[in-house]
Symmetry: C2
Subunit: 240 residues, 2 copies
Amino acid sequence: MSEEIGYPKVVPLEPEARTLADRVCRQIVTAIVKGEIPPGHKISEPELARTYGISRGPLREAIRRLEGWRLVERKAHVGARVVKLSAHELIEIYRVREALEGMACRQAAKNMTDAEIESLKRLLDEHEASIEQREGRSYFQKEGDLDFHYRIVQGSKNSKLLELLGDDLYHLVRMYRYQFSVSSSRPKRALKEHRQIIDAIEARDEELAEMLMRRHISAARRNIEDKLDTVTKPEGDKHG
Amino acid sequence: MSEEIGYPKVVPLEPEARTLADRVCRQIVTAIVKGEIPPGHKISEPELARTYGISRGPLREAIRRLEGWRLVERKAHVGARVVKLSAHELIEIYRVREALEGMACRQAAKNMTDAEIESLKRLLDEHEASIEQREGRSYFQKEGDLDFHYRIVQGSKNSKLLELLGDDLYHLVRMYRYQFSVSSSRPKRALKEHRQIIDAIEARDEELAEMLMRRHISAARRNIEDKLDTVTKPEGDKHG
DNA sequence: TCTGAAAATATTGTCGACAATCTTGATCAG
DNA sequence: CTGATCAAGATTGTCGACAATATTTTCAGA
């Protein structure tokens, strides 16, 4: 049994998987996030049932939950498809992240324990070492970045924030990252911003912590917008 | 193949209800929100199947989707229960609303059409008439308030915001309102704040619009906190 | 009477089969 | 040859039955 442990797992939100539907649900999420089931792809119930060796009943329940998490879209009597990537929606997600994680950072500045802060600072040290070592092109940086953000959300001690970001948004974000291969453009700058954020949290400065996080995510959004503009034609309104 | 149109389509709610599971899902949501199925109540599959006259298959799928929307919690081999009311979580929800609707208001100030703004101003006129007429104790105020907020979110033209607030949070907020009977305490003040918000949107002042909405929801949160402090003392149930 | 374990019961989890609907491909009129 | 109509195939939706697990009841022993 190859139990994969050791790397930062960002999905501790699933207590158990004692039932077939739960287990398969997790497998499908992983497959979608990693792109093994590409965006827009039809989800064939008989095919997936054969693949995972289960009946269609639990499979359909898993799909229904994924529908609730907005990873798949379903049409009656037609079938379910993996959500399609759209540059516009990716930007929308980053606007939501800016709002949600800004609030998370504000509450983290208030509710994070000193031990959590210290641990997070050590994580950033690891990130720095990883960046120096691999010249900033590390695969680890992708998951590492999300790990930092996830810990902030955990530190907010706000369970609703954790549910919304952990279940709904981060899956999509990771999927988009696998798709577009973004976010590893300026790891050093991101690391510096991360340090500023944790400093503000350590100083218990709620206002500053929220502002820095919002700036950080807003910068990431603009970075993506620029990258997308080079590929996508600016047919939209460019008036100002 | 790619018939994707790029303009922001903001109509993800109410797709269809052509299937039993979809129809029953909506019925259960309404029942939960209205309190017909009280919070913490066990959801018995055989009982509900008999009630709605369907098999357990579609019912289970509906429950799985409700689980994705966080209206019910499920434990393996034990069953599903309607989410339990907790004062702490209600406050958490309002913190999330502050962040999310603040961002929605910011984007509404940018993306709302003049027609939408005009329509919303007329809605506030109706609210004012309703308040004057019924001395501020109107039942309509409850849904009317949420209607205002929902239109702002629609005006943001951000489909992700609409999904998160519409599917996940507003159901819970309405449920809590039916439970605690809150939010009708200061309708005149709320109306005044609503007018300030729509004025900021009309002036296309994004910063101000976000700030006013955050203040508005933050005030509502503090109002609830005060009310809960006067009531909160029963630490768990006691039976004879 | 109280405690603990084991049987009885009820509920959830899973499966295969059938019905309703959509999609595809073939046939035929223009 | 093009287009529409209709039949064949495939997929989704629904159902009832059986298996696995949790909860409740019962009963024996201290």
